[in-house]
């Protein structure tokens, strides 16, 4: 089966006065129907810009300078802004971290939801659009949706607001949803509720989901495949269980080792020394070299290519030979 979304060697660069910032530098990934893919990375790794690039939301001075974003075979990177508008919010939807920023504070939820439907299909009657909006709210577990439709965003709690933005994202039954840190601002019990709704909706409607987060534990719980980003590149991607249980890239290993929990009580956490390098002046060779404990001469001269392993992963590391498995 063809994947819903296929990104090939995407490059999104920002042309600033101080120089070219390669926020996304050669990212490739695929998502199939009904599949959840986790895109993990720390701040500045380019995970959000990857999401924005798919949505066509990269602002100047940023620009997609290379690669393809194939959505059902159509290259989104080549579309005009007007053509992209037809996809955005319709076939592809996005959920942001802060629902207060996504929802318009001076419009009723109803107005915002009906607008989303009518702007993509003007043949729908207002009554039908209203009914669809109400059903969508019910679907994400909001009780008494008729009353809630008349409310303004500030009358909702944080978790409720995030449900509303999920409902809006689902309105036009998109084929792909990009969720950028959708649960980071939420409390644990509310986060559980939102993850539960998203999991259910993806399974029921066969919507593909790209879940962008810094939280490895969250994607370990829901994703089929995990992509780990570092300094604008995907350093490791593969099936969830393999990546979490036996990481191959030193960065993934370090990241997993630094997650605190009950299992490592009394022992110091494994830490990755140093900091993420500035994207403005990345070292030649592997971007992770100055924090890596397996660094050798080749790492400082050549940037590693993605090597596919036996168990279906792609890893960018010189210490891995083709066909290796963990």
């Amino acid at each position: 089966m063809d994947p819903i979304l296929q990104i090939k060697d995407l490059q999104t660069h920002f042309f600033t006065k101080a120089g070219v910032l390669k926020a996304v530098d050669g990212v490739s990934l695929e998502i199939g129907a009904g599949e959840i893919v986790g895109l993990v990375g720390e701040s500045g790794s380019g995970k959000s810009i990857t999401g924005f690039s798919i949505m066509g939301l990269v602002d100047a001075p940023g620009r997609i300078v290379g690669g393809q974003i194939l959505f059902k075979g159509q290259d989104l990177a080549k579309l005009s802004p007007a053509e992209m508008q037809a996809y955005r919010g319709n076939r592809i939807a996005m959920i942001f971290q802060d629902p207060m920023m996504t929802l318009n504070p001076v419009l009723r939820i109803e107005t915002q939801m009906v607008e989303t439907i009518l702007s993509h299909d003007s043949s729908v009657s207002k009554i039908d659009a209203h009914a669809r909006a109400r059903d969508a709210l019910g679907l994400v577990g909001i009780s008494s949706p008729d009353e809630r439709l008349r409310a303004y965003p500030h009358q909702f709690s944080g978790g409720m607001r995030q449900r509303v933005s999920i409902a809006i994202a689902m309105l036009n039954r998109p084929d792909l949803i990009i969720a950028d840190e959708p649960t980071t601002a939420l409390d644990v019990t509310i986060q559980g509720q939102v993850i539960h709704e998203m999991q259910r909706l993806c399974q029921e409607t066969k919507t593909a989901l790209l879940w962008i987060t810094h939280d490895l534990a969250v994607v370990a719980g829901i994703a089929e495949r995990i992509c780990v980003m570092y300094a604008g590149r995907v350093v490791e991607q593969g099936p969830n269980a393999n990546v979490i249980a036996a990481p191959m890239h030193p960065y993934t290993t370090g990241l997993l080792g630094s997650v605190p929990g009950q299992n490592r009580r009394g022992q110091p956490l494994q830490q990755i020394e140093g900091m993420v390098p500035s994207l403005m002046n990345l070292p030649t060779g592997c971007a992770f070299q100055n924090r890596c404990n397996l660094v050798s001469d080749i790492c400082t001269s050549t940037n590693p290519d993605a090597i596919s392993t036996k168990d279906g992963r792609l890893v960018r590391c010189h210490n891995i030979a083709a066909g290796d498995s963990a």
Binding site: T189, A217, V218, A223, I244, R265
Partner: protein, 327 residues
Amino acid sequence: MTPLLTVSNLSRDFVKSLDMVAKVLNRLGQNYREEVVHAVDDVSFSVFKGEIVGVVGESGCGKSTLGRMVAGILPPTSGQVSFDVTQAKNTDIPDALRTQMIFQDPFSSLNPRKRVIDIITEAPIHHKLIAPSEKRAFAIEMLQRVGLDPDTLERYPHQFSGGQRQRVGIARALAVSPEFLVCDESIAALDVSIQAQIINLFVDLKDSYDLTYLFISHDIGVIEHISDRVIVMYLGRIVETAPIETFVKQPNHPYTQALLAGVPRLEVGKRQYEPISGEIPSPLSPPTGCHFHPRCKFATARCKAEKPALREIAPAHFSACHLNDEA
């Protein structure tokens, strides 16, 4: 053994007083009331020397208000926090300095117009712990303690990354040689790999300087890693306190159980989330009886009417739940 820090019946209310219009309307026979939030409601616990006590809870549970009262930044409405000075290793510092606080946001907790050297030495010079002539050597020693390069002495806070800034905040707290540190979400704003560095630093400092911590966090993974004992709060009240092993393996209160079940965990792998229902109620109008009853699947009529007391159900394990009476 007597505790180092004892918190007894501590409460803090925040009152939104009536504005002019409401006062006038009240005279005309309207009935506007002041809005009162019981941010912390009759909380008692103790912390022993050398312990790390974790406080967990969701937003609005009062954990930060509690931390600020323990640190002495916020006066309580009633109740008290007492520090056992006889156990202090440092007898010649003023009592107010014994407890220091480390804040969540390393961007807003450091004065952007001061150099690191001044940020660190301001308090010890003011309290005459060091002479102004020792300033430089003292600041260098402090920076080395928290793992920063002494060359950064003359820098301003904006020239540091988030993790480094948090280290400066820790150095500032340590500069007055405190006995007790209150860490309020001190690592929540940091990236995972930097978080690990700071957690390790906290543990190292505890061992080398004989510190005691009250560690406040919403992140249960962090609490499980670092704490010896855990306090769980919900809407201003303590619902459970337990040693860490008990907290992880046999949580008693239904809220603690739900909280632990909802935590995403690496070792569990892919799973179907089955969350508890319901929102966190507004602290302005908390539910009657047990605050958790509208979301609790075991709730009975009694839970709705009567506030459960925090009772010891096993040695050092306290829980506030009516279900324990029936068993």
